[in-house]
């Protein structure tokens, strides 16, 4: 009986938290929109802001993916094949971009590519308000992903396989080996990385909002500023647009994620075949390789450098004023409270999302091997928990805004409204770390504990959790980082100065007219967020089990 309750709890919570609000929101959207879904989609062409948004989003995502793969693959190759000095530091630097919160990256790129930036002035590069700028930012972000996912595959290939390949007629030339030996090894990971890059570019909000110029709308941005969404009788156009884009996004993202699970399913068969160090060739690196790697490292860190640098200048002059004002409590954009809020939300996200992910992962891994309804239930639960991956941040925001607030108006005022968004978004990340770890844990540990007379609770707390300590910590750190950087949904749900988070504050400070110090304070906030995130990830690296390197 207790087991039944245990296994239904995660499902109930997930339904309450994720599924129900969205279904309510969808219903409400359909009501508020005065036309049906098909007409809503065909109307998109007739509207200024939405005309071409779908096409632009797809184009942007496709180009970003191509760009990322063409730069990421060679980098992953070099990292996997050669042993560089300070190898793990180089890898850390190259993979850092991925964990940088979107608003921080946005600030960095504005400083790097904007009209008065270093690049513009020294190289006369007019990249401001162009799609190129956004593609560059996306590439910067996602090359880290390619390196992280593909490098291990290259690094771990058993060297004897390659030696045999060289001896075969099909393997005498490098390009032939690349095709016959290396391509099969990396293609699934590369495909997974490419799909993820597509998904992240597809739902990009902060970057498009600030780097894209007037008239450059992807779906996320076009959906975002729609205040009358969900309101019946007024501003039906807003609901119509959100409905149309929401459905389109959902379909495309679900397809992408289905592809992703396919790739990762099929990729399960390969295992690390050798320890890392032994397969890396200690070849002398050519000058041009060193130069390119150096450029890659510089490119990875440049936006971050400019973010921090910008915090020390006010209206073009070097000054500590921004930092001082930020930590006083007088200015509108004083940072102490938002910093505390951001941390509070993050800590709460961890405290709630990780145990919930644990419960869900436990149910899934236990029940999926049983017969009949149990196995089906496990599958459904798995999909439900992962569903938010197919939702963009703005969609999550609207889901909560319309869905939950429909239940009670006063929910709109609670300080923890954005927290729900953070939970929804963090839960799948935690699940993706905990579930594989649970699945690969030898069940005999738990069985042994039971034959030693341990109660269920004792088994969980004295054996199960300690054995999964590493993945649990990684899941916690991931959930924390997701919450720290969350922007789209929080921005939509923000309603009171008291509960602003740092990313939302950066956006508002940056958009504030007349106030030069506001811009610099935005840099300060971005720097703070950056430092916190980096500290977290350095800590997380220590807890990764080597077997987990194929995931993010």
């Amino acid at each position: 009986m207790g087991k039944l309750v245990l296994h239904t709890v995660p499902a109930v919570l997930v339904i309450l938290l994720v599924i129900a609000p969205f279904i309510i929101a969808l219903i409400r959207l359909s009501e508020a929109s005065e036309v049906g879904i098909f007409e809503a989609i065909s109307n998109l062409d007739n509207r200024y802001q939405t005309n071409g948004a779908v096409g632009f989003t797809l184009k942007l995502s496709a180009i970003s993916t191509l760009s990322t793969v063409s730069i990421g693959l060679p980098l992953a190759w070099w990292m996997g094949r050669y042993h560089w000095p300070a190898h793990s530091i180089i890898r850390a630097i190259l993979t850092t971009p991925f964990v940088v919160p979107s608003m921080v990256a946005t600030i960095g790129f504005i400083s790097l590519l904007g009209p008065q930036s270093w690049l513009a002035e020294n190289f006369n590069l007019k990249l401001w308000h162009t799609m190129t700028a956004i593609v560059i930012a996306h590439t910067w972000y996602n090359v880290a992903l390619v390196v992280r996912l593909v490098e291990p595959a290259i690094a771990r290939l058993d060297p004897s396989l390659e030696e045999s390949a060289r001896l075969l007629p099909g393997g005498n030339k490098a390009w032939k080996r690349a095709l016959r030996l290396w391509w099969p090894v990396v293609r699934l990971n590369l495909a997974a990385a490419a799909t993820l890059t597509f998904v992240f570019s597809f739902t990009s909000f902060a970057l498009v909002r600030h780097l894209g110029g007037p008239g450059m709308y992807n779906m996320e941005r076009a959906m975002a500023e729609r205040p009358f969404t969900g309101i019946i009788g007024v501003g039906a156009v807003d609901s119509e647009i959100v409905l149309a884009f929401g459905v389109i996004q959902l379909v495309i993202l679900t397809a992408a994620l289905w592809l992703l699970t396919e790739f990762q399913q099929r990729g399960k068969t390969w295992l690390p075949l050798a320890t890392e160090k032994s397969t890396r060739l200690q070849l002398p690196k050519t000058k041009h390789q060193k130069l390119l790697m150096g450029s890659a490292l510089a490119a990875a860190t440049a936006p971050l450098y400019f973010t921090i640098k910008g915090s020390f200048s006010v209206a073009g002059n070097f000054s500590f004023e921004a930092w001082q004002t930020a930590f006083s409590s007088s200015h509108d954009f004083a940072l102490i409270q938002p910093l505390i809020n951001t941390l509070r939300f993050a800590i709460l996200t961890v405290i709630i999302a990780v145990p919930l992910a644990w419960l869900a992962a436990n149910s899934v891994s236990t029940l999926e091997n049983e017969k009949g309804w149990s196995a089906r239930y496990a599958r459904v639960l798995d999909v439900m928990v992962m569903a938010p991956f197919a939702l963009s941040a703005v969609m999550v925001g609207y889901g909560i805004l319309i869905g939950l607030s429909h239940l009670s108006n006063s929910l709109l005022l609670v300080w923890w409204l954005p927290l729900i968004a953070h939970l929804i978004i963090a839960l799948p990340f935690a699940m993706r770390v905990i579930l594989p770890a649970m699945r690969s844990l030898d069940p005999s540990y738990l069985e042994a504990a039971r034959t030693l007379g341990a109660s269920q609770l004792k088994v969980i707390f004295k054996v199960h959790i300690p054995l999964l300590r590493g993945p649990l910590i990684v899941a916690a750190i991931l959930a924390f980082a997701v919450s720290l950087g969350e922007f789209g949904a929080t921005w939509l749900l923000w309603n009171t100065p008291d509960w602003t988070t740092l990313p939302v504050l950066i956006d508002r400070a940056y958009s504030r007219p007349y106030d030069p110090i506001a811009r610099s304070i935005a840099h300060v906030a971005a720097s703070l967020l950056l430092i916190t995130t980096l500290t977290l990830f350095i800590t997380a690296e220590k807890f990764r089990m080597t077997g987990q390197e194929g995931e993010f």
């Binding site: 005999s444 034959t451 269920q456």
Partner: protein
């Protein structure tokens, strides 16, 4: 002491145990002999409560434990892969099944299995034979009514195997423990048990 009646267990439609009957007397050590894959481990797991069957019952000391979970059956089990908890040291592992952990009892047991002073050793530093003995000690300290041993000596080399088999028998006999030892090695079976039961006698599941 132990009675198994009509144990029937299937996995994905395949019948592994077909109306198996088994009984073991008080303080008796029984060896279950048979080739791999014929259900010996499954039978042990069934007795321990780790596997569910359809119909059939398990009686321990006359009491029907068929509907009890493993932790309530007072059935100890030494697993084939030992399943020693890597996050605890030897003493931590030994104390795990004790209702009230007592350092003297732990020290005493370590002495009995010839691992005196091993309390603070880490699990990963133990050799095969040492691990076996810690696993055995751990199960014994939980004071089970029945002890099940699932080919615990299988991964050791010949000499060590037989030596340990003798040691294990002595320890079990000294304490009057009722035990079932599953193995495919007839030599070990002979060394360790009072009675050998061939799996083929006990059940004939369809291959």
């Amino acid at each position: 002491m132990l009675e198994v009646k009509n144990a029937t267990v299937s996995f994905s439609g395949k019948l592994i145990l077909d109306a198996v009957n088994l009984s073991v007397g008080d303080s008796e050590i029984v060896a279950l002999l048979g080739p791999s894959g014929c259900g010996k481990t499954t039978l042990l797991r069934y007795i321990a409560g780790l596997e569910k069957g359809s119909g059939g019952e398990v009686l321990i000391a006359g009491k029907d434990v068929s509907n009890l979970p493993p932790e309530k059956r007072s059935v100890g089990m030494v697993f084939q892969n030992l399943a020693l908890f890597p996050h605890l040291d030897v003493a931590g592992n030994l104390a795990f099944g004790m209702v009230i952990p007592e350092a003297e009892k732990i020290a005493e047991m370590l002495g009995i299995v010839n691992l005196a002073g091993f309390q603070e050793r880490k699990i990963e530093t133990l050799s095969g034979g040492e691990g076996q003995r810690v696993a055995l000690a751990r199960s014994l300290l939980a004071e089970p009514t029945i002890l099940l041993l699932d080919e615990p000596l299988a991964s050791l080399d010949e000499d060590l195997k037989l030596a340990l088999a003798e040691d294990v028998r002595k320890i079990l006999k000294d304490r009057g423990i009722t035990a079932i030892h599953v193995t495919h090695d007839r030599q070990v079976a002979k060394k360790i048990s009072d009675r050998i039961i061939e799996m083929s006698e006990v059940t004939q599941a369809e291959d």
